[in-house]
Structure formats: structure tokens, C-alpha cells
């Protein structure tokens, strides 16, 4: 059996940044495994600009952002295997993978970084009634068809869901000559960035209907029309509010789900809220030596934060490979409450943690003129005013080791949203 110190599953932005940082922290033997025919992951099809403002202080397109990290991987001669699918990861960190040249093979790793990303919620998961004609695509599939393969999925388009990929595709399809009739969003707010709503919908006069959903899909061979209706506070369609649109295509942009089938084979515990692994401050999962970063851990809003998180995963995996597992003296739970849906990480080891740890979270609804508050035990240590917080954007608080160690007896850290 082949062996590597570190095997990274996935060659997208998370896997690339993790590999670079592990190498820079002294790990020579690294293998990235990627199932596509090139590195870069989903960034390859995100040809619009707006990436990298935090990381590179300039606005790049997705492929350009990916290339910066691909170059760093190549400069460091980090090994990678393309067109290779990982089938299984054992709790002993044996990775089983296959491709057309090597067949099926096993690799023993000292540490594994999970960086598989996420996938789109499909029609099957949405329970939309109606026939199953051609012409129904996830927004990401349409993006790949238009931007990489050079096909237009349709001419008259209705979009369900106002996630960023749906908004970006509303503009892209319009610029390629399609007529985008409406974007319907189930929630009373959009999950997309304000910038995308203005520059992808408003700029082109595409209406966004909040609190609306698809109630019927017509057409047997190909989509011929879509009926949408307003929903009430119970999320159920309100009779009499139906509107019909003649169209040949329905795009779905209804949320992203971390892709954790492999994590499960290794026995990694998953959070029911993020659907990603439960990790401590070192981004280590419940299985020793298996770390996670990027959208497989929790869905991010900006790739810059993925790169930052992945860098930390690389540093911590390198530390584990060099020093072995140190049993934490104490682990303090982070309790998300009062509008905070979850935190990543879910716990902090006050003795072993880095000098500062970024705790990322999302809120469950729109909050205006509210405060992000953090408590060490019962003591409030942070109260930061935010004019607005929305579920579509990630928030963060920073825990400083020096400060935390002034509270040696606490058993819990609380992060919550407060009105005053």
C-alpha cells in the first residue's frame, strides 16, 4: 500500500489552500485527489468577477482566483491525482480511490483533510409537483453548460430560489440572449448578496418575487410553463395568488449541501444544522487526524474565507503529523443561541488553541440594529453593533487565547444576537 503523510480529498479552493499551507509548515509528503480533469473545483465555472477582495485586494474572476492557488501548488511540486474518485476513507485513514490508469488502490495517510465541497439541493429534495420534463436544471448545472461546455440550456427561463448562483445565472442567461422572466424566492428575504440582486436582476429589469414558490410545472417532453404562487407565513401557497409563466426552462438555486458521504464512511460526526463535520478549534473532526475545511465543513459566502479556513486546516494537520495527537486538557463548548444557528468550530481547547481562533457563524433571520454578543461563562466579553445581519452572509467573532485563559473555570462560551 502506498503511503503519504497527508491526503487531501478535493482539489478545489479548500484543498489547494490546505495543501499549500501544509507544505509551508514542513510536510513534504502530500497528495491531493481530485475527481475532475483539472484543479480549481467549482471556481472554474464561476467566470464572473468579485473573488479575492480579501485575499488579494483585487477583484478576480473564479478561474483567475483558482489559478493563483494552482500556481502555488505547482511551484511547491505538490503531488496531485486528477480524474480520481475516492470511494472510501476508513477511521484508520486508509483512503480507497480509483481511476482509469491505476484502477482501484489504497493509500495509508497519517492525516486526511476533507475538502470535497458541497452540492446543490436538487428537485427531488424540493417536492415540486408536476411532470418531469426536460428543461429543469440546477443553476450550477446551467452555469457549467453555458460557461464551460458552450451550450444554452433554454430561451425562456424561470428561476426558483435567489441564491447567488441563481442570480449570477439570471444575468448570464440574459446576456447570452435568453429571456429570464422571474426569480421566485420562498423566503421573505433573498439568500443572495445585495450586490448580485442589483447587478444581476435590477440592472436587467428581472423581477424578484419574495415569498413565492413554484406550484406547478407543465409540459411532458419539455417544460412549457411554470406556475408560481405566493406563500403565507406557514410557507404554504395561498390559493388565488397563482401566476403563470410560459417558459422552456426552470433553474433551481435553492441552497447548497456539504457533500459528506466520504466523511460518513470514516465515522466522522456531522452537525444536523450545517450537515458538515463537527470540528474543534484545530478543525479536527471527531475522528483523530481527519480535518475538514471549506464548503464540506459549512457553506461559505466568500471563497476568501474558504482559503483562510483551509490554511488553518493545513497548519493543524501539519502539527498533528509532526507531533501526534495530544489529548486536550479541557475542551469548552461554544453554545450558539438567540438567532445564531451554528458555530464553526463547535468547541475550543483553551490550552492547545492558537493565539486567536476565528469562530464563524450564520444567523437564522434578518436582524437590524442588533448586537453580536459573546460570553465566557456568564461574563460578557463582546458586544458589537451590526446595522444588519442576514442569513446569506457569514459572521464571525474572534476568541483570543490570552483573554480566554483569564477565565479558567468556565464550561461554556455563548455566542448570541441581542437587541440591546
Amino acid at each position: 500500500m502506498q503511503s503519504y503523510d497527508l491526503v487531501i480529498i478535493g482539489g478545489g479552493p479548500a484543498g489547494l489552500a490546505a495543501a499549500v499551507s501544509a507544505r509551508d509548515n514542513g510536510i513534504e509528503s502530500i497528495l491531493i485527489i481530485e475527481r475532475d480533469h483539472e484543479l480549481g473545483g467549482i471556481l472554474n465555472q464561476c467566470i464572473h468577477n468579485g473573488f479575492g477582495l480579501h485575499t488579494f485586494k483585487e477583484e478576480l474572476t473564479g478561474p483567475e482566483y483558482a489559478q493563483r492557488f494552482i500556481d502555488q501548488v505547482k511551484e511547491r511540486n505538490i503531488e496531485y491525482k486528477l480524474n480520481t474518485m475516492v470511494m472510501d476513507i476508513s477511521d484508520k485513514k486508509v483512503v480507497t480511490a480509483m481511476n482509469r490508469t491505476d484502477g482501484m488502490f489504497e493509500i495509508q495517510a497519517k492525516a486526511v483533510i476533507l475538502a470535497m465541497g458541497c452540492r446543490e439541493r436538487s428537485r427531488g429534495a424540493l417536492n415540486i409537483p408536476g411532470y418531469r420534463p426536460a428543461g429543469i436544471f440546477s443553476a450550477g448545472t446551467a452555469q457549467r453548460l453555458v460557461n464551460i461546455e458552450g451550450y444554452m440550456p433554454g430561451k425562456k427561463v424561470v428561476i426558483l430560489g435567489s441564491g447567488d448562483i441563481g442570480l449570477i445565472m439570471a444575468r448570464r442567461m440574459t446576456l447570452e440572449g435568453a429571456e429570464v422572466k422571474v426569480v421566485a424566492e420562498l423566503m421573505p428575504y433573498s439568500g443572495g448578496l445585495k450586490r448580485n440582486i442589483v447587478q444581476c436582476l435590477d440592472d436587467f429589469g428581472i423581477p424578484l418575487k419574495l415569498s413565492h414558490t413554484v406550484v406547478d410545472i407543465e409540459g411532458k417532453e419539455r417544460v412549457e410553463g411554470i406556475t408560481i404562487a405566493e406563500v403565507g407565513p406557514d410557507m404554504k401557497p395561498i390559493p388565488g395568488t397563482e401566476e403563470h409563466y410560459e417558459c422552456d426552462t426552470l433553474l433551481l438555486s435553492c441552497g447548497l449541501l456539504p457533500e459528506n458521504e466520504l466523511s460518513k464512511t470514516a465515522g466522522v460526526s456531522l452537525s444536523p444544522i450545517t450537515s458538515g463535520p463537527v470540528v474543534n478549534d484545530s478543525l479536527e473532526t471527531s475522528v483523530e487526524g481527519i480535518f475538514a475545511c471549506g464548503n464540506v465543513l459549512h457553506v461559505h459566502d466568500l471563497v476568501d474565507f474558504v482559503s483562510e479556513e483551509a490554511k488553518n486546516a493545513g497548519i493543524n494537520a501539519a502539527k498533528y503529523i509532526k507531533e501526534g495527537k495530544k489529548v486536550a486538557e479541557k475542551e469548552i463548548k461554544i453554545n450558539p443561541t438567540g438567532g445564531v444557528r451554528y458555530t464553526v468550530p463547535v468547541s475550543i481547547r483553551p490550552k492547545e488553541m492558537d493565539d486567536s481562533v476565528t469562530v464563524r457563524f450564520r444567523v437564522g433571520q434578518v436582524f437590524k440594529n442588533s448586537y453580536v454578543a459573546m460570553y465566557y461563562g456568564d461574563t460578557q466579553v463582546l458586544k458589537r453593533k451590526k446595522q444588519i445581519m442576514a442569513p446569506g452572509e457569514m459572521e464571525q467573532v474572534i476568541i483570543k487565547k490570552e483573554e480566554l485563559n483569564n477565565y479558567p473555570d468556565i464550561s461554556e462560551i455563548t455566542v448570541k444576537i441581542e437587541a440591546e
Partner: protein, 121 residues
């Protein structure tokens, strides 16, 4: 006096901005909560610009399309014209990131460049 209405893109607040114009000059911006709204509104009503991104066909490449962008901002009013001009453009592999795909697109003085390298098949 003329009024223009905009949604600020600075943050998720999405402040509804009202810009008062006189003889093509901005007199006042209201509705903004912070400085970013003021800056955005003044630029957006006097000189709105965008980066245009698209993809064009590659002959003999490892993948059939290469992503491209305008190297700098172009006037917002020219987005459709530029996209149309890119519809029938074809390039031959190999393409390198940064290669000029269309020089001085639609007379804007701005080049359209490749944002990805495509090796020959």
C-alpha cells in the same frame, strides 16, 4: 431638478438611495446610512461602469470554451453590445491566462482577455 432611485450594493442593508441631480450634476444623496452609499450613488448616476465576463469558443483545446473578461471597467450601457461582439469570437488553443482575445472591444479602448489557460487537446 431630477431624482434617481438606487439600491446600494455596499452591504446587505441595501439602502434605498435617492440622488438629486441638476444639470447632470449630483446635488444631494439621501437614504444612505454610511459613506459607501454616497460614493456608490455618485459614481452610479454619473459614470456607471462594469467588468463584463463571458466565455468564447476555443478550437482544438482541452475544453471547448475559455472564460474571458474586459481588462478594465466599461460603460454600463455597453454591456449588451460587448456580449454580442463576443458571440462569434473563436480562438485557437493553446490559450494563456491574460492573452488578449479581442483588442479594443467595441471601440472602448479596453481589451477582452482570457481568464484561464486552455492547453491544446
Amino acid at each position: 431638478m431630477e431624482e434617481k432611485h438606487l439600491t446600494c450594493i455596499g452591504c446587505p442593508m441595501g439602502c434605498q438611495l435617492t440622488v438629486t441631480m441638476e444639470n447632470g450634476e449630483v446635488k444631494e444623496v439621501t437614504g444612505n446610512t454610511c459613506k459607501r452609499g454616497d460614493v456608490y450613488a455618485r459614481k452610479e448616476v454619473t459614470d456607471p461602469t462594469r467588468i463584463v465576463t463571458s466565455s468564447v469558443k476555443v478550437n482544438g483545446g482541452k475544453i471547448p470554451m475559455v472564460s474571458v473578461k474586459t481588462k478594465n471597467d466599461i460603460p454600463k450601457g455597453m454591456i449588451f453590445e460587448i456580449c454580442k461582439a463576443l458571440t462569434d469570437v473563436e480562438v485557437n488553443a493553446p490559450v494563456n491566462i491574460g492573452d488578449v482575445v479581442v483588442p479594443n472591444v467595441c471601440g472602448t479602448g479596453v481589451d477582452v482577455i482570457a481568464t484561464k489557460s486552455i492547453p491544446a487537446a
